[in-house]
């Protein structure tokens, strides 16, 4: 994602090495993804769902992937 768009900064955090940070973000399971320190989801999702999660966190309309063909 971050390589496709320079607005996006992507960080992978090794949760067990940074327990304080993990606690601060309420990490109970991995992978856990936090978007702009607010929206979040746990587990793997498709790329399409991931993009829509980002758009929704920005207050934008999600993409209707069925229409994208």
């Amino acid at each position: 994602m971050a390589m496709a768009n320079p607005h996006i900064r992507a960080e992978v955090v090794e949760a067990s090495e940074f327990p304080d940070m993990s606690r601060a973000f309420g990490v109970m399971g991995v992978p856990k993804t936090v978007i702009n320190d607010s929206a979040e989801f746990v587990g793997g999702v498709t790329d399409e769902m991931f993009v829509n999660a980002i758009l929704e966190s920005l207050g934008k309309e999600p993409v209707d992937w069925a229409e994208q063909g």
Binding site: M1, A2, M3, A4, N5, P6, H7, I8, R9, A10, E11, V12, V13, E14, A15, S16, E17, F18, M21, S22, F25, V27, V30, P31, K32, T33, V34, I35, N36, D37, D47, E48, V51, I54, L55, S57, L58, K60, V63, W65, Q68, G69
Partner: protein, 159 residues
């Protein structure tokens, strides 16, 4: 001592190194092992962190030694690299910043070991080839619709 076993090195030389195209800058922010053993105001000694920092440094140096296209800079985030770490907003150590972009948009905090090791190799490969690891309709949506800053944090554990 190398952290990469001979067979791992051989595998990477055959399958990772040949696909690299352009130079990739790698910036590893770490701290001196001595410093992480010290009690300093606001900082508890952390021998485990020192061990992780050392292992990460050795592993990344091993990877960088595979190809002249991998340009590694090791910076002491509490010493000569402090200003750059602050500019990039480095929050944890060790931190590996991959790529040459101004904001350091692709990062890994911690030791990239276990199943996280292929993750960083994939990132490095993608940066070197310019091939985004997303299918085109998804990549296009990311390019077109994301017009403001997005900060993704993905918490993982190596297994």
């Amino acid at each position: 001592m190398s952290l990469l076993r001979d067979e791992d090195r051989k595998y990477l030389e055959e399958h990772f190194v040949p696909v690299l195209e352009n130079e990739v800058r790698l910036r590893l922010f770490t701290e001196s092992p001595v410093r992480s053993m010290l009690s300093l105001p606001g900082q508890e000694p952390n021998p485990q962190a020192a061990e992780m920092a050392k292992m990460t440094r050795e592993l990344i140096e091993d990877v960088a030694s595979l190809s002249p296209k991998l340009r590694l800079e090791v910076l002491d985030a509490r010493g000569d690299g402090a200003a750059e770490a602050k500019r990039l907003g480095i929050e944890q150590l060790p931190a590996l910043v991959m790529g040459d972009d101004e904001g350091g948009h692709v990062r890994f905090y911690g030791a990239p070991v276990g199943n996280e090791f292929p993750t960083i190799l994939g990132d490095i490969q993608a940066l070197s080839t310019g091939a985004v690891q997303l299918r085109e309709p998804v990549a296009a949506a990311v390019r077109e619709h994301v017009d403001q800053a997005v900060h993704l944090r993905v918490f993982v554990t190596p297994t």
